[in-house]
Symmetry: C2
């Protein structure tokens, strides 16, 4: 039984929606919004994925991935993130340029290729956006990082990832001069608009809107 590119994209979407709302069923409309595909079409596909035993679908009640479906989705995510590492580390793309190309490459079907690509890249644990790369068994380092705007303390943080992957957001961070691994220290939070005054690498002071801060993931520096 073969899984089409389109089916892979539906599974990936359901997987991604599931990880933000743990253990709850995903609705037709959520998938429709995420993929920009009309709800009626999504219903069609859910029936087909259910037929193929990749999901548990109850009409009107939503959908969950089963083991097979989750495995398939995680594999696509693994491929996506490995290819992003390849594009940045080996071909010198910038982190805001790789997502669209990886959207294509993630559907290339060859286990041997993933295996060798992973080895060639030195078995990376994270992609250029700080997202964890599932291992060959589908196991994934859960990232316990928290968005910068959830913190109020003036302690030091390390910038470990982003939750938004749009070109404009990533380019904005590059323009500010912020890269993954940088040290961040909250110096002030403005009462008026909840914007952040932050010191980067103990050198440069920058201001982040709350929206920017909400999409920056940090670990507390030890």
């Amino acid at each position: 039984m073969t899984i089409s590119l389109t089916e892979e994209n539906y599974l990936k979407a359901i997987y991604s929606l599931s990880s933000s709302s743990v253990d709850e069923a995903i609705s037709t409309n959520q998938i429709s919004d995420k993929l920009n595909i009309k709800a009626a079409t999504v219903t069609d596909m859910l029936k087909r994925l259910s037929e193929k035993k990749l999901i548990n679908y109850i009409p009107y009640r939503g959908v969950k991935l089963n083991e097979k479906g989750k495995q398939t989705a995680v594999k696509v995510v693994r491929k996506h993130r490995l290819w992003e590492v390849f594009l940045v580390e080996k071909l010198n793309f910038k982190w805001d340029e790789v997502h669209e190309i990886a959207e294509q490459l993630e559907h290339i079907n060859s286990d041997e290729l993933i295996l060798r690509l992973d080895k060639f890249l030195g078995k990376p644990k994270f992609d250029p956006h700080g997202d964890p790369i599932p291992d060959a068994k589908g196991l994934l380092n859960v990232v316990k990082a928290v968005a910068l705007n959830k913190h109020k303390t003036k302690s030091e943080f390390i910038f470990v990832g982003v939750t938004e992957h749009s070109k404009s957001f990533l380019q904005h961070l590059t323009a500010i001069g912020l890269k993954i691994g940088d040290t961040l220290k909250i110096e002030d939070i403005n009462d008026f608009d909840n914007s952040f005054k932050v010191k980067i690498n103990k050198h440069n002071t920058r201001f982040f809107s709350n929206k920017v801060a909400a999409n920056i993931l940090v670990d507390i520096k030890k």
Copy 2:
């Protein structure tokens, strides 16, 4: 106007058929045989490619690529061969393992990616099977190599490529111990079955069936 994966495969097939019979129109049946798609389906597609101004198609008279179609086909070939070099040179695949994966990778759509991949690989001129890689402008080193079995002389040759790309043939050459770049000297041609007795790199004597010799391309050693 976007060109689908399927359309790319038809254009590539027509291109490949054209290079063996220069300047003659390609028939519906030739394409049907090459792609293992029924002739009626091919006719359908030829009408569509003609609509899209990628080919010159005259019903009952066959088809030729026009400039646009040729350009598209050559670009797919360029991508295919660059990816094969990547797989062999960087990921250590064997030359008989890469074709199927390259059949997928050749459809990844990103000019910037081809550009950077080419640079990363050191702008290679030939793929692992000795096939020339078209440059960014679509220009191609014409290979003037001749099949070994066309030669009768006992002079020395260099093995520069293969005309057959099947796994079984390539594995056979590997088993014999023959690699691209090796020196070949015809020691004898058997009257009975036209098989070749050949010395490889002045060391090892091997016997090639005429069919094998027909698929080995050689240059005369200077």
